[in-house]
């Protein structure tokens, strides 16, 4: 059995790569779904248990959301001339770094640490960490709500509930992410002033 932390890190890297590909190629939701299935197959091949797989799905959706948020932050930084691919490499680094620091560093600590490099980078990393902690709770909440409320009335109810939950989860995460990004950016501007 692969060590839990190692498998999570590996899955994180794989999922982030997938996200990068999706964003670079600007693919639609169907392709996203196909890639998610491929990723799940990889998880199965690696003999990772169901719990880890579920976590993987959470991470996958999470980083999909994250990519949009970081892209937004990069746009805020007026470096739109950079290619989307380069932006995604940045995002990849941000996510990996944030994962490493997730368990050891607080949000405030991260902002303080990375603001030397760039306030926006600090905000992005802090945001990544914050959301890594936020996603499982949000997913559990959304799925629970739809399990109670949504009744598609067919043999594939569970799948339909899962699909509608994923869509709501992505929207909700995006909405919250943008709000958090705005709040963190404001906070860091107050603490550290405008970035030159």
């Amino acid at each position: 059995m692969i060590d839990k932390d190692v498998s999570r890190t590996f899955l994180l890297i794989v999922s982030t790569l997938f996200v990068s590909i999706i964003v670079i190629l600007n693919l639609n939701m169907l392709v996203l779904l196909a890639i998610a299935i491929i990723a799940l197959l990889i998880s199965l091949l690696l003999k990772i248990n169901v719990k880890s797989m579920l976590k993987f799905v959470l991470f996958f959706q999470g980083f999909f959301t994250l990519s949009s948020v970081i892209a937004q932050i990069i746009v805020f930084d007026k470096i739109v001339y950079e290619s989307l691919a380069l932006s995604n490499i940045k995002m990849f680094i941000f996510v990996i770094l944030s994962f490493i620091f997730a368990k050891y560093v607080t949000t405030t600590g991260l902002i303080k640490l990375f603001k030397r490099i760039s306030v926006n980078a600090a905000v992005a990393i802090a945001l990544a960490v914050k959301f890594m902690r936020f996603f499982p709770a949000t997913w559990s909440f959304v799925y629970r709500t739809y399990s109670v409320n949504y009744d598609p009335g067919s043999r594939f109810s569970r799948i339909k509930i899962l699909i509608i939950s994923v869509k709501a989860f992505i929207n909700l995460s995006l909405y919250s992410a943008l709000q958090t990004a705005e709040s963190l950016a404001t906070r860091s501007t107050i603490i550290f002033g405008e970035e030159k």
């Binding site: 902690r133 629970r144 709500t145 399990s147 109670v148 409320n149 009744d151 009335g153 509608i164 909700l172």
Partner: protein
């Protein structure tokens, strides 16, 4: 009022993860943190939306003490004027009072069959009992309010009734349950209102007509709805999905007087359709509109006389 700074944050709160605190507990925690920061200017946004009456009075006392002791300024914005008795200055931005829904008691639909029965029903979290054994019977077309202070486990009870957490005991339902969560308010997809309504339309009704009846703009994107309208959308979904029991967790959070009035009117429409409503709230004024009321205290439910 003198407050010992070392006891300002109680140990019960310190032992919990922040994300496990209820909305009210989190608000209280933030107020206490602000108190310890000794800021010269402290701004409180809508405390009555988040705090029950007794906690609210405690917080107001704390703020008064804080302002005097630290020579600081505390500014409170609220849709209710309860802070007036604590404040040195009151600025009114409009003339709306928080009593516009007081003469709107909900009228029970007389259909009479039982919609929900709970007998000796208790819920657990991490192996510990969070809801003590309760017995509750709700008729079709009846509205029940469960009042509880911050941290009284109102949300846990709601998810317990929805059978979404680990509970034991008897639970009988004549139909299905619909739950309207406290947060996030926007639990649905970010698409036009009409699309969401259509997805839940078990009654096969005309969406345009339903939207009009419940006061919704069918063309608006759901995330562009105000908090009040988002709650109305949730209630409309409950109606369209043909559920018999609707659970609403803290429906008044973030609502002004007129929105609370619209909410009550919408609840009445659901009652008229024979739907049973159970709400939890920290707002006693709002709960008074309900014919049957219960108090929840640390997981124990008692009927109010």
């Amino acid at each position: 009022m003198h407050i010992n700074q070392s006891s300002i944050i109680d140990n019960n709160l310190l032992d919990k993860s922040l994300h496990k605190l209820s909305d009210g507990q989190l608000y209280l925690f933030l107020v206490k943190l602000a108190y310890l920061q000794k800021a010269k200017l402290l701004l409180l946004d809508e405390p009555t939306s988040h705090l029950d009456e007794s906690t609210y009075n405690y917080v107001m006392g704390l703020m008064k003490n804080y302002a005097e002791a630290n020579d600081s300024i505390v500014i409170i914005v609220d849709h209710r004027d309860d802070a007036a008795k604590y404040a040195d200055y009151v600025v009114k931005l409009d003339n709306v009072q928080d009593n516009c829904y007081e003469d709107l008691p909900l009228v029970r639909n007389k259909q009479g069959d039982t919609a929900l029965v709970l007998e000796n029903y208790s819920c657990f979290h991490d192996g510990q009992r969070t809801i003590n054994p309760i017995s509750l019977e709700v008729k079709r077309g009846e509205a029940v309010a469960i009042y509880g202070a911050n941290g009284s486990r109102k949300t846990t009870l709601m998810w317990g009734i929805a059978c979404s957490i680990n509970c034991k005991g008897t639970r009988r339902l004549s139909g299905k349950v619909f739950i309207i969560p406290q947060t996030p308010i926007y639990w649905f997809d970010n698409v036009p209102v009409a699309e969401i309504l259509q997805k839940f339309n078990k009654r096969k009704e005309n969406i345009k007509y339903v939207a009009e009846r419940f006061g919704l703009d069918e063309n608006l994107m759901s995330y562009n709805l105000s908090i009040g309208k988002a709650r109305l959308l949730s209630l409309t979904l409950a109606y369209l999905s043909n559920k018999e029991v609707v659970l609403i967790d803290e429906p008044t959070i973030g609502l002004d007087c007129n929105s609370k009035k619209s909410l009550l009117e919408t609840i009445q429409k659901l009652i008229d359709e024979g739907i049973s409503i159970i709400i939890t709230t920290h707002d006693m004024k709002f709960a008074l509109n309900f014919e049957r009321r219960y108090i929840l205290n640390k997981g124990t439910l008692v009927e109010m006389q």
